[in-house]
């Protein structure tokens, strides 16, 4: 019963898949609103917390056996926004999908503002219709949470399960704050590590640098937009926020991490879960996070669940913590060059940083980048932070 005039109607049988996808939204607030954006390409579920972290989950229309979206003005770029509570949708979909013997077809429909969002579940014996009130309380505000393509510092692609096990590990040791440390090397042995600060002290998890696992790691100089090597990029995050992406990482097949000079880290997750059969699919990592309504998908087949999470790093960095974190990065395979101490004067922008300043012996060099980013963002006077010289040589 797909009325041509209905604004939106879609039906699917892949309820488990949708449940899996929507479960990724739960760390963002189980009883809070989620914004459903309907457009020609599929459904998006979006949510942002405290202007610090946001998630957008995209279910392509290929997932649905029938998908009808008829905006009133036939504009291909039109979209409709609906706001419902996550737990309502999740409860109804997950409860229904527990019956494995029978195929349940779920039809979602929405006729327009003022009408409820309707879900109809049909199996061979029972038809169930659920209506949810929709309301729009606030506009979707993405300021500060959109990746600035012009000043991307780090782009890194890795296998999803490795990222998940690293996050899981951090969770188990009771991490409170975590650092991302990434360094691209010219010899291909890139370094990507997660450093955690917890009641145990500092711990480091170094992800394998094999090509098959850490597929790509590129660091850029945000001033010159060129690739640089041996220049570590770090990010400092509160783990409570960072941990919100763990549920999404659990279903991830591939993870693309990008970080810009403003301190925003964007994590794109492609999930090719096993619960649906599919043909070829091509992964498009460049689905634009800032514009969820863009029709950037060219693939005909279902691309899997696409999740985009953006998280802002912490503004204040404790200098002692930075020191310790750097110490942890004294990995075995790094060549033991003598430490070089280079003073950093105030007012140097990112582009003019000489490469040797980020030398391998980070013991003696302050990590100036986040501090400088902070300064850029807030426009305060930079503080001159002298590197400590009184600690004996580590080598």
């Amino acid at each position: 019963m797909l009325d041509q005039n209905i604004l939106f109607s879609a039906s699917t049988v892949h309820l488990e898949h949708i449940t899996t996808a929507l479960n990724c939204l739960t760390p963002f607030g189980l009883r809070d609103d989620v914004l459903i954006i309907i457009d020609n390409d599929g459904l998006s579920f979006a949510r942002e917390n405290n202007h610090v972290i946001s998630i957008q989950l995209f279910l392509s229309k290929e997932l649905f056996t029938s998908y009808q979206y008829n905006p009133p003005d036939r504009d291909p770029g039109a979209h409709t926004k609906i706001s419902v509570k996550i737990n309502h949708i999740l409860d109804s979909i997950s409860v229904v999908s527990r019956d494995k013997d029978d195929v349940i077809e779920c039809t979602l429909s929405y006729v327009g503002e003022g009408s409820p969002f309707v879900l109809i579940f049909e199996d061979s014996t029972v038809t169930e219709k659920v209506e949810y009130s929709t309301y729009l309380t606030k506009e979707w505000d993405m300021t500060g949470l959109e990746l600035d393509r012009g000043v991307v510092e780090l782009e890194c692609m890795m296998k999803g399960d490795i990222f998940y096990s690293a996050l899981q590990d951090l969770k188990e040791i009771g991490c409170k704050e975590c650092y991302i440390y990434a360094k691209a090397r010219s010899n291909g042995k890139h370094i990507f590590a997660l450093i955690s600060k917890s009641h145990l002290g500092f711990s480091k998890i170094l992800l394998p640098s094999e090509r098959s696992i850490l597929e790509k790691l590129e660091t850029f100089d945000s001033g010159t937009h060129g690739k640089v090597y041996d220049k570590p990029v770090t990010g400092f995050f509160d783990f409570a926020s960072f941990d919100k992406m763990r549920a999404s990482a659990k279903i991830a097949s591939k993870v693309l991490i990008r970080k810009d000079a403003h301190g925003l880290m964007s994590v794109n997750i492609l999930s090719e879960t096993d619960d649906i059969l599919r043909g070829d699919s091509k992964f498009k990592p460049n689905s634009s996070p800032s514009n969820p309504h863009s029709s950037a998908y060219l693939s005909r087949d279902y691309p899997g669940i696409v999740i985009d999470i953006s998280v802002l790093e912490k503004a204040r960095v404790d200098e002692e913590d930075m020191e310790e974190a750097k110490l942890l990065m004294q990995t075995i395979d790094e060549p033991k060059a003598p430490p070089s101490y280079q003073p950093v004067s105030a007012g140097i922008h990112n582009g003019a940083n000489p490469a040797p300043q980020e030398s391998i012996s980070l013991l003696f060099n302050e990590r100036k980048r986040p501090a400088e980013e902070l300064e850029e963002r807030l426009g305060e006077d930079e503080e001159y932070i002298p590197a400590t010289n009184d600690i004996p040589l580590f080598f």
Binding site: S165, K204, I205, L206
Partner: protein
Amino acid sequence: MIFKANIIKADNHSVWRRAIQMLSTLHEDIKLTITNNELIVWSMNCADTSMSQIRFKRNFFDEYEFHPENTVFGEDGLQQVEDRALVVHKLYSFKTNGKHLSVLFRKPENDSIKSLGLAIHNGAACPESLANKLQITIHTENLMVKEYVPHIVPIKYDPIVINLRYKKRFLEVYGSSSETQEEQLDPRLLEIFRKFDRELSDSYFNNDIVSNTKRSRDLVPEDEINYLCCSIQLLKNFIDSCNTGATEEIKLEVSLTKLCLTAFTRGVYNKNNDILRNAMRASNTVGTSDLEHYCLFTTTGDDDQRRPPSKVVSFGMKDFRSFINTVASWKNDQEIHMWFCRPGDPVFLELDKGDLCLELVQVTSSNENLVPPGNKIKAQANSPLKDIVSVKLGSPRKSPLKGFTPSKKSASDEATSPLKPKTLFVKEKSFDADQQRWKNPVRGKRPPESQEETPKSLHQVPSEPSFKVQRTQTTIEWGQSAPEPAKNAAASALDQRDILKQEKRRFLENIRNEQEKDIEKNEPTQGVDEFGPTQIDKPKGLFD
């Protein structure tokens, strides 16, 4: 670097993990002491009633370096001890949070640890943020590298040398009395004595323990020490079967005949005799024949002859239970040694696995009913499993009937124990259905003189029937005496080929006898044919 150690073997990872987990249940702090030979990890509970120590020998680790002379930071942990041989050993000790350690060493899901490294820097070049930190590096199969640096607090190690004390006393009481004991002690027990002696002399902490003069005086009641050695399965079965999760204490009672393990909870009553908590008790009793060794120090009064003396000791259940559960999780069947003295003195359990040694010390309750000490002191060492061993060792002879010895043989009248040797063949008179006899169907009755002597004789029988002919009536029995040549001489008159044929026939007849016996048992009324055991006269053959 003061210390660096690495574990690569996969089994050792899980051993290490379990050890740390067990110790962390005792107290939230775990203390470690590093010596040149071993790494001692130990913990004592808050009430000081229970202590557990695990000593990892150097060869447990795939890499082990200890350079205490490099210590610059954390000097509080550095210590020197002098042992009896006046050799000075350096130790480094520290304590750290056990719960944290057990989290760090947990098994990663979907992954396994490839190598586990421990290190303490604290050297001259140590950066301040790495001072007094235990650096743990874990490489996993998924090629992840994890590094943790939990904080440590250097402490001084005060060794609790109850293990050495008890072993010394044990050797003095039982080791010296073994020379005066009439029966030979099990060689394995003697080996255990020797091992403990070696351990005492090699230990770093034996300075106060070992007295140089050997005491040759008589034993006094204060010297009491009792020893038990049994398979860990015995204790594990007890733990599993006696609801030990809900009980608080364990009572161990050992006498000459049995060992009784009881798990109990005392009842709690208030002033009005209202029950606040019910008493509960469950026990396992095993005969002492299942113990490997046990040595009891009995003081018997003159008037107390009726009851066999038994030793009773009771202590807390919880730590004992976690100790046994940890130890029993390793597959090999291990033996656990247990020492206890009088009620009130601590009980000491030890399990030695070659490259590590696990120990548990617990205080015991002193309110047992003491048997009033008598005048006669007897230190008695028993190794009940010794008899089995000696029977096996004592019969190197191979019998061709080895495959045929019916296992359903019930104990015949001679044998008191199924393990004692008994005669396989008896005289013609007793037609016990279980027993077999050689019969010479061709020659007829056996000559009477050989019949009398055969139960006591022992013939050497090679596995093949073709042999030197110096014997007849191949009666094969288990016995004590050597074969007598007289019988062999009697057969010399026979033709060699004849003998061969006879032997072959007897062999086959034997098989048939057995089969017939089976049939007989099912159908006892069946008439017996020519070669059955009831037949006295054999038909004469052509060559007789």
